[in-house]
């Protein structure tokens, strides 16, 4: 069996890369690897923060093209329908802005401080599980 067909191997390999990115971003630039925090910084904030946010987000957007150029074809993803994308996006935006809840932020928090980040992570995962079930029951699941 091809090693790269093993879901545990590829997710752990991906996890290591994400971990290096998260750690390096904090160590080198002091920024938190939070997508919503980065987007939020575009709405105003400390000087220089928006610039690193844009650079980081540009890296994320360019990742697929870069990977393609070295021979890795991104898999086709199954997106949900438009209303759920909009409702989900609004909920994520509002909650992230209200209390700084974000997946990347919570993961960064776990590297720097303990219990409150863990409670946040578990709560986010619980919410995502409920949301996932709701998405299916609303007919938004398009997986082949």
């Amino acid at each position: 069996m091809d090693l790269f067909d093993n879901i545990v191997v590829v997710t752990v390999l991906g996890g290591v890369l994400i971990g290096v990115a998260l750690g390096a971003l904090t160590f080198l630039t002091g920024r938190t690897m939070s997508g919503s925090g980065m987007i939020g910084s575009l709405l105003g904030g400390a000087e220089g923060v928006a610039a690193t946010s844009i650079s980081f987000m540009a890296g994320l957007v360019m990742a697929a093209l870069t990977m393609k150029s070295i021979g890795f074809a991104p898999q086709q993803v199954a997106e949900t329908n438009l209303p759920l994308l909009i409702i989900g996006g609004l909920l994520v935006g509002i909650s992230a802005r209200m209390s700084g809840a974000s997946l990347g932020g919570v993961l960064t928090g776990l590297t720097r401080r303990g219990p409150s980040s863990l409670v946040m992570l578990v709560t986010i995962l619980a919410g995502a599980t409920i949301g996932g079930i709701l998405q299916v029951s609303f007919g938004g699941a398009n997986a082949q």
Partner: protein, 146 residues
């Protein structure tokens, strides 16, 4: 230099999300169905936190980030409000299948729904600012990043 480092970290994070397939929005309902899915997800989370903790620990003896600037403060997550927000954030993730990081990667892979999600996130943030009084419509008030 600091922007170049941020760009490289973005590329690396994006590569990680692409290789692992963790950016796939179907994951939120599909994962428990896959063989070894929950195990793989748990181990990926552990790998992220473990590797990142080792690198972040190198900064404990430093007063400032390696390339200058200052550490971005983490939000205060004590009390019920952040917990409620985390639940709403999770719900949004579950409903749409995306978090902002994965949507940015997916937008780069030309998935049509990801930009819609990102615009909704931005709109939600502005809405939140208006409701909490950080931003009033038509004025140039600036909220803090969060």
């Amino acid at each position: 230099m600091i922007r170049l480092a941020a760009l490289a970290c973005g590329l690396l994070c994006g590569a990680g999300l692409l290789i692992s397939g963790l950016y796939d929005p179907a994951l939120v309902y599909d994962l428990p169905e896959r063989e070894n899915g929950p195990l793989a997800f748990g181990m990926a989370l552990f790998a992220i936190i473990f590797v990142a903790s080792i690198i972040v620990s190198m900064s404990y003896e430093r007063d400032a980030p390696y390339l200058g600037g200052q550490d971005e403060p983490l939000p205060d997550w004590t009390g019920w409000k952040p917990i409620a927000s985390a639940l709403v954030f999770g719900l949004g993730w579950g409903l749409a299948g995306y978090v902002p990081l994965s949507a940015l990667v997916s937008a780069g892979a030309l998935s049509p729904g990801a930009p819609v999600f990102l615009v909704a996130v931005l709109f939600g943030m502005v809405l939140s600012d208006v409701v909490t009084g950080k931003r009033s419509i038509g004025s140039g008030d600036k909220g803090s990043f969060g």
